[in-house]
Amino acid sequence: MILSASRLCFSFGETPVFSDVTFEVAPGEIVSVIGRNGAGKSTLLKCLNGLLAPNAGRVRLDGENITRLKHKTLGRTIGYVPQHDEDTFGFSVLEMALMGRAAHIGPFSQPSPCDIRAAEEAVRRVGLESMIHRNFNELSGGQAQLAVIARALAAKPRLLLLDEPTAHLDIRNQAQVLKVLCSLSRQQGLSVLMTTHSPDHAFLFSDKALMLCKESPPVFGKPGQVMTAETVGRVYGMDVKIINVDSRFPEARTVVPDWFGAVGQDRRRRNDHAA
């Protein structure tokens, strides 16, 4: 196991965010975290790389409690891709990726040619080599997301934590980001833990799923086994159907929310009004 969390609890003051979260990430595995807004997905990620301290429970990296590890070690082993990333000054993609090398560069040093090579390599791995000197702020949403992933990869981490990497992206760009993550995990043995609002991604691209829910205990396991219409429905507090969209691949399932049941009444009223 590269990362394991046992019985994690977190609360902001008196407000509990999540409790009793236990899961593991093996090398090369992709784990998706799903749950409603406010279920504590982003907070959980920040507990895993030491940005926040959980109220109870342990996070272990290679068997070692992360509170005992140096910040630099964490920074080199775990790459973090936040949800919104803005850049005030308009750094280039390469300059941005170089910053991911911070844990490898001494406090009074400048990036070495070796650091620059690692940053260029990271940019190549996400397929942005043609944009390497472009201004980060002029990239499209999908390219910016890939650039931030490149920045996390530049440190050569063994685990990547991503906070909703596919949010605000069109379906093609979502596929592009997921493709990059899959190839990193399959070819380089990189472990990936990401939060998402698309349960479909958990079915299609994940080895494990972690479902966080305020009302019920968290569920962790293989998506095909633990993600049923009942459990997913409970997580989102809404009836859902789970449908296989391609008979050749049993994992190609999609979650169809019962929109009509949830907003049906109002929709009918609108239609009546229009008539």
């Binding site: 940005l51 910040h71 005030t88 000054f89 911070a102």
Partner: protein, 331 residues
């Protein structure tokens, strides 16, 4: 963009060249030959007056212009990176107002010039220390808190400066204080330089050493921490270094506005946002800018023009032009 070798040569050569030029200009006419022979570069007889003008008046003054311009600019650039905001200047945490109060107090009490320097320096640091003390709290929007606390300290010390002006003798002390606060290098001697130069040098050196790290800080606290950065320590060192530099600048030159805001922008337009090149570029451009401004200040009219008036009158329209040209984008 990494400045290439030719650019680097210009960056370090230009301030030296301008230092030479500024030694030649002034109301006392001094031929180039005389100047060179004072420095022993050419043999020849020189009048004692020429020697005094050059060595005791122009040289310390020009060196001070160079140091103050460089110091204010590099601390401005560092603060813009730290606060992730291209609109802040070196006095965002109240250091200039604090130092201004210190020197006004010293002038009111009629203490020696060195004591005025020391008072200015001490109160400049005290203002920033108070701002940091007010802003200290766990997590949250700590940068915003820091800026607000800086505005608070700036307001307090501005009021205290007014109080001193109000109580000062209007015949004698008040004009000195007012004139001093407008910024100027007219009375600068080697004693001031001996006080300020080591401090400005030390602070600038620390900022230059950490220049790449300021990039990482400019991504925001959370991101920097995820890279394993000790953001608290780093921020403390950057604020401390920029503060001592600015306090030392104000203690010799008074409050010289605009330089620390304007110069980092020019540097950013020329060399891009990477602080690895931005900080050295700001240092050099700032030195050149203030050497030119000071040259104008002492030659344009028969009386000396306070520096702040010129930095704003020449700097503000230039800044407006820059804004128009770049459309407010800082890249």
């Amino acid at each position: 963009m990494q400045p290439n070798r030719a650019f680097r040569l210009v960056l370090w050569g230009l301030p030296v060249l301008l230092l030479g030029v500024s030694l030649c200009v002034g109301r006392y006419r001094l031929p180039l030959g005389d100047m060179l022979s004072v420095f022993g570069l050419v043999s020849g007889e020189v009048k004692d007056v020429a020697k005094t003008v050059l060595l005791n008046i122009r040289l310390p003054r020009s060196l001070a212009a160079l140091l103050v311009g460089a110091g204010l600019s590099i601390s401005g650039a560092a603060f813009q990176g730290l606060f992730r905001n291209p609109l802040v200047g070196p006095s965002i945490l109240g250091v200039a107002q604090g130092a201004g109060f210190g020197s006004a107090l010293g002038l009111l009490l009629g203490v020696s010039m060195l004591s005025v320097n020391l008072l200015a320096f001490t109160f400049g640091i005290a203002a920033v220390f108070c701002a940091c003390f007010i802003a200290r709290r766990r997590g949250g929007k700590s940068l915003l808190m820091l800026v607000l606390a800086g505005i608070v300290m700036g307001a307090v010390f501005t009021a205290l400066i007014s109080l001193i002006k109000y109580t000062a003798d209007p015949e004698d002390k008040l004009p000195t204080i007012v004139y001093w606060l407008m910024g100027g290098l007219s009375g600068v001697g080697y004693r001031d330089l001996a006080f300020a130069a080591p401090i400005i040098g030390l602070g600038s050196f620390a900022l230059l050493a950490l220049r790449w790290r300021i990039n990482v800080l400019s991504l925001g606290e959370e991101m920097a921490r995820s890279f394993g950065e000790n953001t608290k320590l780093l921020r403390f060192v950057v604020i401390g270094a920029a503060t001592i530099v600015t306090a030392a600048c104000v203690s010799v030159a008074g409050i010289v506005g605009w330089v620390g805001l304007l110069v980092p922008h020019i540097a950013r337009m020329l060399f891009g946002p990477d602080h690895s090149s931005l900080l050295p570029a700001s240092l050099s451009i700032g030195a050149c800018y203030l050497l030119c401004i000071d040259g104008v200040a002492r030659t344009a009219t028969s009386a000396e023009i306070p520096l702040s008036i010129l930095t704003a009158l020449l700097g503000a329209p230039f800044f407006a032009w820059l804004l128009g040209k770049t459309g407010g984008r800082w890249t």
